[in-house]
C-alpha cells in the first residue's frame, strides 16, 4: 500500500520538477497566450506526460514479451499525446513545456525489482493521468479544448485497462473511471 503511494508520489514529483520550468498557471498577458486560455492547464498535463514517458522507459526494461510490446504500444500513444498537447499549446500562443532526459527523472522513480513492480508503476501512472485529464476538463474553457481533455482521459483509461489485463486483473473494473 505504501509502495503504491510512493510510486504515485514519484510520478507527481517528477512532473512538478518539469512543470516548474514553464507549466502550471496561465502566463501573464503580453507573453503570447491569454490568461485563462488553458495554456497553464495543458502544460501541467504535458509535464505529466513527459514524466510518464520517462517512467515507461524505465519500467519497460523489467518486462519481457508480450508485456513489453504492449507497453511499447502505450508509449507510442503517449508520444502522440505529447504531440497533440504541444500543438494545442502553440495554437493558443503558448510555449509547450519541454521534457528532460530520462536520467533526470530516474532518481524520483521507485526501485523496480521485477515485472510485477513495473506493471504496478504503469498502473499508477495511468491512474494518475486519467485523474489529471479529468481535473483539466473542469479548468478548461468550453469547446474543443474540453473535447481534447476528455479524449485524452479516455485514451489513458484504455491504457489502464490494458495494464490491468497484463496484471491478470479484470480490464474494466469500475463503472466510473476517475483515476487516483
Amino acid at each position: 500500500m505504501s509502495g503504491g503511494l510512493t510510486r504515485r508520489s514519484a510520478i507527481a514529483v517528477a512532473a512538478v520538477t518539469v512543470s516548474s520550468c514553464g507549466g502550471g498557471q496561465d502566463p501573464p498577458s503580453g507573453r503570447g497566450a491569454r490568461p485563462g486560455s488553458g495554456v497553464g492547464v495543458l502544460n501541467s498535463v504535458l509535464a505529466l506526460e513527459h514524466a510518464s514517458l520517462a517512467a515507461y522507459a524505465a519500467l519497460a526494461e523489467r518486462l519481457a514479451r508480450p508485456e513489453r510490446s504492449r507497453a511499447q504500444e502505450i508509449v507510442e500513444q503517449e508520444r502522440e499525446h505529447v504531440r497533440r498537447l504541444s500543438d494545442l499549446i502553440e495554437g493558443l500562443g503558448g510555449t509547450p513545456v519541454a521534457g528532460r532526459a530520462t536520467r533526470d527523472y530516474a532518481p524520483s522513480f521507485p526501485r523496480l525489482r521485477d515485472a510485477g513492480d513495473a506493471l504496478l508503476l504503469a498502473h499508477d501512472i495511468e491512474e494518475r493521468q486519467v485523474r489529471a485529464y479529468l481535473e483539466a476538463l473542469v479548468k478548461l474553457p468550453a469547446g474543443p479544448l474540453r473535447r481534447s481533455a476528455a479524449a485524452l482521459a479516455t485514451s489513458e483509461a484504455e491504457h489502464l485497462a490494458l495494464v490491468q489485463g497484463l496484471r491478470g486483473e479484470q480490464m474494466a473494473q469500475a463503472a466510473f473511471v476517475t483515476g487516483t
Binding site: E80, V130, Y133, A150, A157, E158, L162, A172, T178
Partner: protein, 176 residues
C-alpha cells in the same frame, strides 16, 4: 471505496442539475444540458439492453456481459439521478432490430455490433462534455466516457483485434 466514489459522482451530477432548478436566465442552460443528458441516458439504456441480451444468450466469456451491463446500469442511474426534478417526461425505448439480428448471428457479429454502439456512446459523451454549460457535470460524464473507452478495449480483446487502437479516443458518430 468504489461505492463512495460512485456515490460522490452521482451526488455531484444530481447537485449540478438540482442547481439548474433556479428560475431566470439559467433556464436555457438547464434546457440544453437536460437535452444532452436525455440523449446520453438513451445511449446507456441501449447499451444496457445490448449486454443483457448477450448475457441471456451466453455470447461472451462468463461474467463479462453481466459486468459491462452492470456498468451501463450504474451510468444510467447516475444520469437519471441528475435528471430527477427537472420535470422531464419518461421516455420509453424500443428494442433494436439490429441488436436482435446481431445476437442471433453469434458472438463475433455481436462483438462487432457492440464495438460500434460503444464507439457511438464515446462520441456522444465527447460531444456532451464539449457543449455542456454546467461545469459540475464535466467530471462525472468524463469518468463515464473513460469507462466506455475501457469497454472498447474489452470488446476488441475478445474480438482478437488490437485492444487500444486510438491515442485520441473520441469514438465514432453514428453518421459521420
Amino acid at each position: 471505496m468504489k461505492v463512495d466514489r460512485r456515490s460522490a459522482l452521482i451526488a455531484a451530477a444530481a447537485g449540478a442539475m438540482a442547481a439548474g432548478g433556479r428560475p431566470g436566465a439559467a433556464a436555457a442552460q438547464r434546457g440544453s444540458d437536460r437535452d444532452l443528458l436525455e440523449r446520453l441516458l438513451a445511449e446507456e439504456r441501449g447499451l444496457q439492453s445490448m449486454y443483457e441480451a448477450a448475457a441471456r444468450r451466453g455470447l461472451l466469456v462468463p461474467g463479462v456481459a453481466e459486468l459491462l451491463r452492470d456498468h451501463e446500469r450504474q451510468h444510467a442511474e447516475g444520469i437519471e439521478e441528475a435528471l430527477s426534478g427537472t420535470g422531464r417526461a419518461p421516455v420509453a425505448s424500443v428494442p433494436s432490430a439490429e441488436l436482435t439480428r446481431a445476437v442471433s448471428r453469434g458472438t463475433r457479429a455481436f462483438l462487432r455490433y457492440a464495438l460500434r454502439i460503444e464507439s457511438e456512446a464515446v462520441a456522444a459523451y465527447a460531444n456532451a462534455v464539449t457543449n455542456l454549460r454546467d461545469p459540475d457535470l464535466l467530471q462525472p460524464l468524463g469518468s463515464i466516457m473513460a469507462s466506455e473507452g475501457q469497454h472498447l478495449v474489452v470488446l476488441r480483446e475478445l474480438l482478437g483485434a488490437r485492444p487500444s487502437t486510438r491515442a485520441y479516443e473520441t469514438g465514432r458518430k453514428a453518421v459521420e
